[in-house]
Assembly symmetry: C2
């Protein structure tokens, strides 16, 4: 088993894999008479020949250390995960190395952070660390499989302390 | 001032205005080896000649009773509000009556409920009842105004008890 440390989720570190949506810095617009700050159009969405849909995911909470050997990717579209609670969750991603995933990285979100995985990014399954594990998912709706899975020969273990 | 009572948000009562996204009933699919329940493609999205985007809204929390006189609508696209906390929020909508809004209705969400306003639905501004007031918004990105506002001659007051 190989061990990796969960790191805080930042836009810079996550850039090769997707977008971090967060309430950092100045909003792009003030709306509703100044009572609402709009951070505008923050995800690079790509649904190929499909359409966009909003689904809800109710995922089983996990604990750290978290052991996994399975990752997956969606070749036909991006996939955004919006937590419907303030709890942190774990985001596992891996670079592509000639069609298979390389060594994974693990990120720990903070309150008010969502992620959008770019089309084709290898990632672990949805991994909340607290009940109830409620998420909205914005991804491609359309025909075709749109799922590739890969199982590492040796499992990985993510260690870290949730905020 | 006219008074209206906030009612619990249900799909049936909200149907004339939009979709309720919620973890009610059986999921459409079990994914990730059974560890995640997917409620699939639950919003009637419509972005007209525009594209879809994900934005974040940081809205000022309000309290009940809540007085308002302004509603708005987006003639060119639907608009979904996903709370990024488990707190309830207030959803104010109104039927269209020949181009202007009729008497408004107020709904109070529960944990794990999001809404998608159908294209052209009159609605109040985003009204969280708890800090921090974090939401993800899935709406139309594109040219043109896409905003109509209407101010009622007599203000409305929403009464109710948040869950």
């Amino acid at each position: 088993m190989q061990r990796i440390s969960a790191q805080p989720l930042t836009a810079g570190a996550f850039a090769p894999f997707g977008d971090v949506l967060a309430f950092d810095g100045a909003p792009d617009r003030l709306i509703n008479g100044g009572s609402c700050r709009r951070y505008h159009d923050r995800a690079r969405l790509d649904f190929g020949d499909g359409q966009v849909g909003i689904s809800l995911f109710h995922a089983e909470p996990r604990t750290l250390p978290h052991t996994f050997d399975l990752v997956e990717r969606h070749p036909s579209g991006s996939q955004a995960f919006v937590p419907m609670s303030l709890h942190p969750f774990l985001v596992i991603v891996a670079p592509d190395q000639g069609g298979i995933p390389g060594a994974p990285l693990a990120f720990l979100t903070g309150a008010g952070q969502a992620v959008n995985l770019h089309r084709g990014t290898w990632h672990g399954v949805l991994t909340p660390l607290h009940a109830p594990g409620y998420f909205a998912v914005i991804d491609r709706i359309g025909p075709g499989g749109n799922l590739e899975e890969f199982t590492y020969e040796t499992p990985w273990q993510v260690v870290g302390t949730p905020v």
